[in-house]
Symmetry: C2
Subunit: 302 residues, 2 copies
Amino acid sequence: MLRELQLIEKLTQRTLLPSQTVRCGVGDDAAVLRLGPFELLLASDMLVDGTHFDLSRTDPIRVGRKALSVNLSDIAAMAGEPLAAVVSLALPREVPDALVERLYDGLAERARHYRCPIVGGDTVGTDGPLAVSVAVLGKVEPGGAVLRSGARPGDRLLVTGQLGGSLAGKHLDFAPRLAEARYLKEHAELHALIDLSDGLAPDAYRLAAASGVRVVLLAEAIPVAESLRGQPDALERALTDGEDFELLAAVSPRGLPALLADWPFDAQLTEVGYVEVGRGVELQWPDGRRRSVTPTGYAHLR
Amino acid sequence: MLRELQLIEKLTQRTLLPSQTVRCGVGDDAAVLRLGPFELLLASDMLVDGTHFDLSRTDPIRVGRKALSVNLSDIAAMAGEPLAAVVSLALPREVPDALVERLYDGLAERARHYRCPIVGGDTVGTDGPLAVSVAVLGKVEPGGAVLRSGARPGDRLLVTGQLGGSLAGKHLDFAPRLAEARYLKEHAELHALIDLSDGLAPDAYRLAAASGVRVVLLAEAIPVAESLRGQPDALERALTDGEDFELLAAVSPRGLPALLADWPFDAQLTEVGYVEVGRGVELQWPDGRRRSVTPTGYAHLR
């Protein structure tokens, strides 16, 4: 889908008008809109049966959870707060009510937990697979949206949680890092933020490109998921597996020891690298050797 | 889909939390959210190939137009102004770039014309039909959202444009009545507003139910589409054909002659009935005879 994504980005750029309202359109985790003394965040994600989940062997409550959580993760990645969500469902005609109810149980659970009421949406019939499309509106104080474009040479890179292996299960039940993002904004000089939807390597590449800097990842520091430890490809999978939905943050080194020492969340916070002048992403080993990493993370690691 | 819609409405009600933010959640054309001195509107609609359009014989530019316009019609139905939209696309793997570009041409055309920039979204692969899900954010001055629940006995009912036969083509190219809605709000005592997505009869029924009143439609006054005139079922189709996307408004009779005389838009404005104490929808003939109309519009007319 990378080619399609680039096409869509190009096409969407074309529809953007000079506007007082739009501070940041296509190209970040959520759009940032100015409205009086507020900044609003708007994001949407669609999940399709057979692509993002498999209803033939997945409890629909987990599909509901994921559908809202991926959107909440976009709001977290801007250091924002969710306000409300709308849900559009495409339902195959033979889907039983019980499945739809169970899917909504998952949506409702996440809506309550993260204080993001579901305020409307649409339901349509389809001859294809079930699809659920969610859009989330969020807010942030004026100028408070943290973009992926603010990283500066000298910044340190932090990652929440552990990386890799998410598709074995975590991708359906993950916790969007809303509170963690707000804490980072309040307790660090937070310059850039992105959520890891496609994998540490490709998303670090996005952050580097948007910020006009080079990202250096320390191979031995990357928090590999417990399920992957001891496997020969553990590091590669931590770099390239998608759907971790953890945060990658660029912060000033000032106050970093205290930030790491006082971190109050269950999900660990790990320093995984730094930002320097340059472009792209490089992986560095303890002996100083480096390899460049491509946007897909694969090529130079194999 | 009526049964599914009722299920979804019930399930969505269940996810609503007591909230300072939500003035009006599920059950109107758009949700109304309070944010400081603003009221925000949030709506979403999904269109699926084979259900809402047929790509095998429709120029994709018209699909793009419709995808944004149905959402803009929801904002019009609250008498609001659009701020921005996000677009999620489910693309079958064999879809050529040219088709996607053409679809975006339709989105972009409507985005420019109605000043609603497309600020982001998502693109996913699907094994099913192409689907396009749009969410629109709008705004209105505080307390200014016009709900479907405000109609009062004595109000007159107005309809924009002409009704029926939309599926022969108009449903893909219709003009959302944003300016007409704002004009009604500024030049009439506008009590209730709804857009005609399912047909005059079912949508009048919704307005009646939400307002706790009876709607009386004058059979000879209903503006039947030119393409239907002379056909034996013209009136029934004007009442029950879906996807007109015209507005049905309940206004105070005060100032109505001037409103009708000064109406500045190409789309005609027609007085089609009135509101009285009671419930449901009745159709009245010039000789005073009445028949009740069911929510689907069909039963008592045949």
